[in-house]
Point group: C2
């Protein structure tokens, strides 16, 4: 059924559609990030630790500078969570061989284990959404999310997601 507004006032509908896209993203992200919290609480950790575990897990031997670039936080902020993770034996540092100033970060076996537990609950949610929506919708989801990423960084980020 054609809505009279779509021909009479296309701008209104366009804005309405955009607002819906914005709110959907808000709610989806809100619920998506809530999953791992109870697991983290068992360890006395927060979302900041989760993000570090995730990206170190995905990028073994990542340098501190690279990690800072991904997380978009200051080294002082990272320091707090990273120190905790190192002390808990979840992350390990090794001096870079090519550049010995670098402290390359990797998960320990214990860290990898926790990371898998955290991923598992998030993956379960995404898997369910993918399954319900179907492969074609998944392709659209990815296409739009890619377009939401800052243009001047998009290429680099997409490569970091796909490589390995």
């Amino acid at each position: 059924m054609a809505d009279i507004k779509s021909s009479a006032n296309p701008l209104f509908l366009r804005e309405e559609e955009l607002r819906q896209g914005i709110e959907l993203l808000f709610y989806a992200y809100r619920d998506f990030t809530s999953d791992p919290d109870s697991i983290l609480a068992d360890y006395g950790l927060g979302r900041a630790h989760h993000r570090v575990l995730h990206f170190v897990g995905r990028n073994p031997k990542i340098s501190v500078a690279e990690l800072l670039g991904i997380l978009r936080i200051t080294k002082q902020s990272l320091s707090r969570v990273l120190t905790t993770l190192l002390e808990m034996g979840l992350v390990q540092q090794r001096q870079g061989t090519r550049d010995r100033r670098q402290r390359l970060l990797s998960l320990t076996e214990k860290g990898a284990e926790l990371e898998r537990r955290l991923s598992a609950v998030q993956q379960a949610r995404v898997a369910r959404a993918y399954r319900e929506a179907g492969a074609e919708a998944v392709a659209g989801y990815r296409k739009v999310l890619q377009g939401l990423i800052d243009e001047h960084e998009r290429e680099k980020i997409l490569q970091s997601i796909v490589r390995r």
Copy 2:
């Protein structure tokens, strides 16, 4: 443009693909939320204020309890930002007529103006992503995001997004 491989076969729920879906959501949300910050800074406001402006704007005469339910924060947390917004004349309260205990919230004209400025930059980003991805991708994006929302709340949330 780097292409994230999407397979059409029924094994598309591979862990690697799920991980990509998770990271894309992280990056997209990170950049998506970064847009309004500079505008808010001009007013000495933060993201918490933005969320209130957004949802009050979308739900005029919303009760405090309803707003708390959407934001999933405590009334004490809301109190801080709401008090600021009231003092700045961006939000107004009016006693409910049906239930006079309620303080129904709406944007003032000044608040609506700021809200439009904030929406504008986010809408621009979403509009660009939609345009680049195409209508079919947008449908998939929405379908997957809906699936990511907590199941027991999904219906209620979708109605609140679509109605009006």
